[in-house]
Amino acid sequence: MKKWIAGAALALATMTGTAFADGHGDYPERPIMMMVSYGAGGATDFQARIVTMTAGNEDALGMPIAIVNRPGAGGRVGWNWFATEAEADGYTLGAYNIPHFVAQSIEGGVSYSSESFEPIANWGADPAVFVVGADSEFNSMEDVVNYAKENPGGLTFSGAGLFVGHHIAALQLEKAAGVKLAYIPNNAGGAGAMRAVIAGEVLGGVNNLSDAFRAQAAGNVKILGVFDLERNTEFLPDVPTMMEQGFDIDNASVNFRGVMVPKGTPQPIIDKLAATVPAMFENSRVQSRMAAGGSPMHIMTRDEVIAMWAARQETLEELLSGL
């Protein structure tokens, strides 16, 4: 049977004039699965479902992509599975979150590193922001840092977990402001961290720009600063960056989301995906749904993502070595 399929594929490949010698010419011939290492309903899951919804179109992959959630331990469970057990046949894709998995691999205790995966394309970039409750006395990052200076280690603020983008942002803030803070990782992810801020359990929090934008629109929080190189002109044009407020913080904590495959996936399949997937993200229906959901898009090709991964690896190694 396999030989027959390979033969047929070869015949088809020669017919269409694109000669794929190893029989991957008609990939994909069945639906594709995409693993998301966070729970259904989370920001990564929600966005992954939107950006893959047009995969079945003829001008995209021609086959639908089904999302499978493998949540747990800040993404470690899913990525461990993806690095060790997922089949490298092109029918198993995964969603990545930078800096999460790179930071976790540097910290250790997991069976993956950036060497274990092959990036395909990036669809979004969600910067971290600093939020405080709507009735908080803090009105700028300066107020926050001054409070932390008066109460070393007493400024409690929530985030989605350890060694995820929010934690990186927290470490950067500590380093840039030269203060000791109390970062409280939440077991219920970004939503739980946001709840802790609104309920006043903590004095502030680091959260995703997209979720914070919604919470601010609902009148529940104030957003004091963006952990990125530039302001977000689309959603939060009035919120200054950390750099503008005098803290030397770059975009290392920005949560980049994209598609990858396990190492060992045949090169022709990687090439085919790398060529089609970014175009799939450009689809106008995808773009409008993402904008409606308040999710900033940032499309990058495979080569750009490879460069970005390498840059993050270096920055994070330096940042985390101080721990």
């Binding site: 309903g41 747990g72 057990e85 977990g161 109390a182 409606a292």
Partner: protein, 509 residues
């Protein structure tokens, strides 16, 4: 009364058709072991891409409501809870079915579900602003005490003795520690890659309840091959209504407990049924009948798990924070249409918000009608011979465990736990406290760690966990619950002769 204004929108042909589809589909999905409400809603999300926002939400809302209730079908007839919310239903529901009262148990459960559900949605309609504040009141310290309250229930839940109940609860708590810990990311007891993600509650639930049943069915099937599993006597629906309204205490306790617990983000419906069951047992005049097929047990458990549906959406609709995994999936369904839930939702999109809530109200009634119809069919399910039934249940168990995250590792977990449970049951241990331990462990642990991290940075651990009226209220309920259990145990010992104990033991095994 704005909700009445939009009531008409529910009955447009397309909307009502979707409501029917969601309700019937939800009942079937709910009755399938392993397909929890969260999964059912997640499965339907792609279909809502093509629909109008309110149509999509009607479909999702109807599915959510009826999957919770549908789980009672397999819980009662097969002793396999469709979802964690239905665990408490097995305790009396299945014993009723064993006595031939399967149809009655199903009727009671659907009527109680509908009453609880309607109450919950009415709370959502009228008290949302008040409830939103209440949902925020539960911080890490309160959730920790709440989980401890759940642990005190373990001992008295469906075991031949308190000690055995506590022991199986401890096994559950230990199983909960397997895998990466949620906050620090430390690895614990990972001996096989299948458990690196921890023990997922759904496969564990299926294994612990279904596999011992399957083994028992196979062993019985060999002795007499035409044996029916259970006989089901016909039971008029009118009498079921009379019965539900006669058991006012259980109904009230179930509904109120379910509504309150549903409101608390992060605890959700998983323990609403169990806490309600335990409370109504303690308040009932016939508490010794609980566990022997007593109608109050079914009524309390099922009214609680549907009463939780409405309030569980309060944090989502008012604060834009999903309070449960299912609410998180519903949030996705709203965002995809560019609708941001929040206090402005009812002002900006009244048609979407109110039609959604109205459809859940109507959905409860439809769910009850179809549920009662299903109850009538229960007799034919029961006529299937043992061996065939065992094969079907085994197939469903494997399918259900695998489908949670497309993982064969979960099937191994299900099978291993199930086999172990078969032998544990022989010694008088039971599955319900074990699963409760598995569910409560992470809640207690994560909230204790978070609470103590906040406490260390601010006021100190002792002050953080022991000040505030809510902390003390919960601590007092915990103490009362323990005292009551100890008291009952002493009383029972005083009046139980050795012969009674032996007879009780033999009846169980």
């Amino acid at each position: 009364m704005e909700f009445l204004y939009y009531m008409g929108d529910v009955f447009t042909p397309i909307n009502f058709g979707l409501l029917l589809l969601g309700t019937i589909g939800g009942l079937i999905l709910g009755a399938t072991p392993g397909l929890s409400p969260t999964m059912a809603v997640a499965l339907l999300i792609p279909f809502t891409f093509q629909l109008e926002p309110q149509q999509g939400l009607i479909l999702l809302g109807a599915a959510y409501t009826s999957t919770v209730a549908g789980g009672a079908v397999s819980a009662i007839l097969l002793k396999i809870p469709g979802a964690p919310a239905n665990i408490a239903t097995t305790l009396d529901g299945h014993t009723m079915a064993m006595k031939g009262e399967g149809a009655k148990a199903l009727q009671l459960s659907f009527i109680a579900s509908a009453i609880g559900g309607v109450f919950g949605v009415l709370l959502l309609i009228f008290l949302t602003p008040v409830l939103a504040q209440w949902a925020l009141a539960f911080g890490p310290s309160h959730l920790f005490w709440l989980a401890i309250l759940g642990v005190t229930v373990i001992g008295t839940l469906d075991s031949s003795s308190v000690v055995k109940g506590l022991l199986s609860g401890c096994i559950g708590l230990w199983l909960a520690t397997i895998g990466f810990d949620d906050i620090m990311g430390a690895q614990r007891f990972i001996f096989h890659p299948a458990v690196s993600g921890g023990i997922n509650v759904i496969p564990a639930l299926i294994g612990l309840f279904a596999i011992p049943q399957v083994i028992t069915m196979f062993t019985k099937g060999r002795c007499s091959d035409d044996a029916e599993i259970i006989s089901v006597q016909k039971h008029p629906i009118r009498l079921a209504f009379v019965e539900v309204f006669k058991r006012k205490t259980a109904l009230a306790i179930g509904t109120i407990t379910g509504s309150i617990i549903g409101l608390i983000p992060g605890v959700g419906g998983q323990i609403a049924g169990l806490v309600a069951y335990d409370q109504s047992k303690k308040f009932s005049k016939e508490s010794e009948k609980f566990g022997t097929g007593h109608s109050e047990g079914v009524i309390a458990a099922e009214s609680a798990n549907n009463a939780m549906v409405g309030p569980s959406l309060v944090p989502l609709l008012t604060l834009s924070i999903p309070g449960s995994p299912t609410a998180a999936v519903l949030l996705g369904g709203l965002l995809i249409h560019g609708i941001f839930p929040g206090p402005d939702l009812f002002m900006n999109y009244p048609q979407v918000a109110w039609t959604f809530i109205d459809s859940m109200l109507i959905g409860q009634v439809l769910m009850c009608i179809f549920g009662l119809y299903i109850a009538g069919l229960a007799a034919s399910v029961a006529r299937v011979p043992h061996a065939v039934m065992a094969a079907i249940v085994l197939g469903l168990a494997v399918f259900g465990s695998y489908s949670v995250q497309n993982s064969i590792g979960d099937v191994y977990v299900m099978a291993t736990l199930g086999l172990a449970m078969y032998f544990l049951e022989r010694f008088g241990f039971s599955a319900a406290p074990l699963v409760l331990g598995l569910i409560l462990g992470p809640i207690a642990e994560a909230n204790f760690i978070q609470g103590s991290m906040i406490a260390n940075a601010t006021v100190g651990t002792g002050t953080y966990f022991f000040t505030g009226w809510l902390n003390w209220l919960l601590i007092l309920i915990v103490l009362a619950s323990i005292t009551y259990s100890v008291w009952m145990e002493i009383m029972a010992r005083r009046y139980t002769t050795k012969d009674d104990a032996v007879a009780k033991e033999e009846a169980l095994s």
